[in-house]
């Protein structure tokens, strides 16, 4: 796949369709891959990589890049196309300035999961079918690919690209996943259990803003949490309340806009399952206002900017589930 992508990138640069390419650049180890912009075939040949660890969603970079001179080529995985569509819908990117090549992904690996197995000194990774061989300075280790699979890919919602100018490989279908299982499990807990669960998780938060800054829906010119005039500026969680406040409001601000790309949880240095907050909103929206997938199109009205006369009342929250 990497070869096909590289050769297409070079063609599109050569024929002048685009003047730069956004993709991924290899790092020091097998897994530390950085999104990067390539301007020449030489740079591409030297550093362009597309493999099991290229999980970063590059669509958010297009907010800035698509406002620059000339067209940019973006290689987007299925989940990334939802993000781009949503950004297009909200006028945050200039879609005309982007040439999208949809690329397939059969799931990305998460090095944290490999490390969590106690594997250290990683120098290389080989994927053979379902088996993953991890080369380390302490010798080779094997584990199943599924165990090393990134959480966001384990609950992949769609193999279908929702926007592209061309595709490399076959396009897939929207998949039926179990992505709400954990939300449901939490819903079935008692209020105290849920409180304890989230207190344990959110108390880990170091307010590094990685979740916000990586989020393709969080593209505000000036985030309320950065703005001293907003009254809710919050640089550090000086109290558990501020941890809650930041995550509730952030989730609320992206409710109905979050495409469930899973980047927030992927980048959290404290491994807080932040995507569950977003999924809770998605699940509620789906069940209360009808199925809605943010980013699936560029025209539909977002659920929170919409209503019907017979929407349920807020008291529905009191009426369902365990106490």
């Amino acid at each position: 796949m990497q070869e096909a992508i590289i050769s297409r990138a070079k063609q599109l640069l050569a024929d002048g369709t685009v003047n730069r390419v956004i993709g991924w650049k290899r790092g020091e180890f097998a897994y530390d891959i950085t999104p990067a912009i390539f301007e020449s075939p030489e740079e591409i040949d030297a550093d362009f990589v597309y493999d099991d660890f290229t999980s970063a969603n590059v669509s958010k970079y297009l907010v800035k890049e698509s406002r620059k001179e000339g067209k940019i080529l973006a290689f987007l995985k299925t989940c990334d196309t939802y993000s781009l569509n949503q950004l297009t819908k909200e006028h945050r990117v200039d879609r005309d300035n982007i040439y999208v090549v949809g690329i397939p992904s059969d799931g990305k690996l998460d090095v944290e999961k490999i490390k969590a197995k106690g594997i250290t000194g990683i120098t290389g990774v080989e994927r053979n079918g379902d088996i993953l061989t991890v080369k380390t300075i302490y010798g080779d280790e094997t584990m199943s690919v599924a165990d090393a699979m990134s959480n966001k890919c384990l609950s992949c919602k769609s193999k279908k690209h929702v926007t592209y100018d061309e595709l490399i490989g076959e396009d897939g279908e929207v998949t039926d996943t179990n992505r709400f299982d954990m939300v449901e499990k939490l819903e079935n807990m008692t209020s105290q259990e849920r409180y304890d669960f989230w207190r344990n998780e959110l108390s880990k938060c170091i307010r590094c803003n990685a979740c916000r800054n990586v989020c393709p829906a969080c593209t505000c010119e000036n985030c309320v949490f950065n703005n001293p005039d907003s009254g809710v500026e919050n640089k550090a969680a000086a109290d558990s309340f501020e941890e809650n406040m930041f995550h509730i409001i952030r989730a609320f601000h992206v409710a109905g806009r979050c495409t469930d790309c899973g980047e927030c949880s992927r980048v959290c240095p404290q491994n807080i399952p932040l995507h569950l907050l977003n999924r809770k909103f998605i699940k509620d929206i789906n069940s209360l206002y009808g199925e809605y997938q943010a980013g699936a199109d560029t025209t539909s009205k977002a659920p929170l900017n919409n209503y019907t006369f017979d929407d349920c009342e807020a008291s529905i929250v009191h009426e369902r589930g365990v106490e």
């Binding site: 209020s191 259990e193 558990s240 609320f252 006369f309 349920c312 929250v317 589930g321």
Partner: protein, 148 residues
């Protein structure tokens, strides 16, 4: 201090009321001398849709034990559609607070028209009682703001 310890817990309730219906409804319960507890403090907003979830969280942060949002009945919004947006926003927000383990009975939305002075008073009585039962808000408070 001893006296305070024996006193019944008095919750602080913040009520956001839309100017056209609910605030007028609250006025009407005053005009009709319909009692409700002093625990309830009303903040006037033009429309229930003016209420940002941030305001609600902020009230809890600062020591509120319950927050109630009152607006015109669906279909009667002075601005035609404001309360429909409110309804969705608050449904989702309250559901999220519930998801985080915040007691459900601390938040409420009630539609009170300008003619429903009695309903306003009854709602405030009920809500205050419900919050009283829950005791002080501890799950969504900011310890720094707790009164000594």
């Amino acid at each position: 201090m001893q006296v305070n310890d024996n006193k019944e817990f008095q919750p602080l309730i913040v009520a956001f009321c839309c100017n056209w219906c609910s605030y007028a409804g609250a006025d009407l319960s005053g005009t009709n001398r319909l009692n409700y507890p002093t625990n309830v403090k009303i903040i006037r907003v033009p429309c229930s849709c003016r209420v940002n979830p941030i305001f609600i969280l902020r009230a809890f942060q600062r020591g509120a034990d319950g927050v109630i949002l009152c607006g015109c009945h669906p279909g009667d919004c002075h601005y035609t559609s404001g309360n429909y947006f409110t309804r969705r926003r608050m449904t989702l927000l309250f559901s999220m607070l519930d998801f985080l383990g915040i007691e459900r009975d601390r938040t409420r939305v009630e539609w009170v028209s300008a003619a429903e002075g009695a309903k306003f008073a009854a709602t405030m009585n009920e809500f205050t009682e419900a919050v009283k039962k829950l005791g002080p808000n501890r799950r969504l408070e900011d310890l720094r703001c707790r009164k000594q």
